[in-house]
Symmetry: C2
Subunit: 370 residues, 2 copies
Amino acid sequence: MKDLDFMARAIKLAKKGQLKVQPNPMVGCVIVKNNKIIGEGWHMEYGKDHAEINAIKNCKKKFGAKKALKLIAGSNVYVNLEPCSIEKNTPPCSNALIEYQIKKLFCGTLDPNPKINGRGIKLLKKNGIETSVGLLKNECKELNRVFFTNQKKSRPYIILKSAQSLDGKIALQSGESNWITNPESRKNSHHIRSKVKGILVGRNTAEHDNPALTVRLTKNELGLAKGEAIVQPVKIILGNLKKSKKVNKIFTDNSKVIIGSRQSAKKSKNVEYLEYKRKNFLEEFLQDLLDRNISSILVEGGQKTLNAFIANNLFDELVLYTAPMFLGKGSKEALSVNPPGAIKTSIKLKMVRLERFKEDIKTTYYNNNL
Amino acid sequence: MKDLDFMARAIKLAKKGQLKVQPNPMVGCVIVKNNKIIGEGWHMEYGKDHAEINAIKNCKKKFGAKKALKLIAGSNVYVNLEPCSIEKNTPPCSNALIEYQIKKLFCGTLDPNPKINGRGIKLLKKNGIETSVGLLKNECKELNRVFFTNQKKSRPYIILKSAQSLDGKIALQSGESNWITNPESRKNSHHIRSKVKGILVGRNTAEHDNPALTVRLTKNELGLAKGEAIVQPVKIILGNLKKSKKVNKIFTDNSKVIIGSRQSAKKSKNVEYLEYKRKNFLEEFLQDLLDRNISSILVEGGQKTLNAFIANNLFDELVLYTAPMFLGKGSKEALSVNPPGAIKTSIKLKMVRLERFKEDIKTTYYNNNL
């Protein structure tokens, strides 16, 4: 096996922590001696041991504490992200690697947090450990898109989602919009919900559609074990509700709700109101969401809300479900952003996935590279 | 091998005649004795021998005329389309099958032409030959979608093509539309051009874009042998040209041009003017195109022309290239049909292919099943 293979293994392990580790990054670690894996582990849950510690523990479990100590000394360690150098919930991993006297550390990327970036590597070097940064760099960044976005942009990772007809419409003039996409597409969209920490809709959509904003999939469909609970995303509303009596599905089941608006509102159980003075408070609101550990959000509409995110270039991913029908002229457009001055200056996205759900298609685009 | 396998082989052979046989259907034929193929052939070119005759010839070539006669007697014959029973360019194939005393004929579908439909089978039955109709029926129909459409609808097979942004637009308000899609998509669209007998645009598009309407691919890209010529589709314009001096690329290279309109126009070399009295002459025009052996057309725009075909439900296939950009509100819509009264009554298409050209996607839909 080559260095690349060991790093690929570390990435694979890291993915096992998906969602449970947010707002932490997913991290996997592989310890190698004489070209053989002697220990491996991953960060399993926020607040619990980091990947490096789990890999050391795994080695100890396999070989016994005494032999493990000998084996790890002089070993190569592969980890997708720079080992931490500061104490937060757990002792810093860099210290452990130094203590166990590893020979060389391969890490995929440095920590994106400008305050930490490179500090772990510096510490290791200072203690005589060889280091190599950048192995499978793109794959390592892709793995932690959410974390990198949080760190670099101080806001949640933002996914915009819309459904539309072939001609880019979302509803007839009558307002009728149920259903454009088919049941398979709609079910798939619950999988996106299950991967984010919050679901955001605009005030109008909340009042007009009275959505539940919940993940409605079985544990089996979500790949959860029997004992594991389905974690529902926080429900987020942009703008103050005027006809709040019409909106009842959002406020059930003890769900946590956050409402961001310019007006003050009376407090109620499980609902947090965030008030802003500025007219365009979107960026400020997003920062506040990240402060509440909401590291990723799915923006589901309506058009005005989606446009606000696009107009402010506040999105990382766009998911479009397109149904094989025409809603025709005069029907409501799914998106209606300001036109560019020229074609070459228009926002260009990068396609990352193309999927098919019977006659519907789902296209996933990235807005920009990290 | 099973009956299904032999029919699949016949379909595979039939495809070798693609384009060269239009307006005839593609037909392949396999002759089987004691579960072994003793002869096979396909219709290679319009006006030349039919598949059944070529399969008999192939058997004679393999085994000599005398032995072939003995072998074919009592054999099973597999052919994707009902053998013809009338003399047109060649003697009817049904007669040959009777003459050679085959035992049983398997055919995928009956001839769609209501005047012929079932006559070949009847003739064979009358002469003591067993028959089975319907083996791989759907595949056989799909193979000859163009021919079935010609026969059943008395018009060319119609493919509508459009390019659009994610929000369903084709040009900015300034009229700028070059280029929305990428070079790979645009190249692919020439492959569609190469598979049809005619390319149609509306008068406005002809005058505004001054298109060449030619297949611009190499022989290699088209899969043609050195000796084979690239057959350019007929250029078709819907509506009379008002500023014909601005349109010069269409009228070069001795290309054949057909213009259909309500006004009379002076005749010129290589240009045929078809005049109509009725305002909505589209259906009549299409019938006239089929009469001129134009069995398939690609409609490339503009919006008004595409809408006319959709509004009259005169299309069999829709190809959409979608580029990963927004052209925004107020930009020109790629398609702008009349809205349906309700979502459930809107035209629903069937997706048949989903392709990707770098960041662009290409979706191919059928309008209806034959």
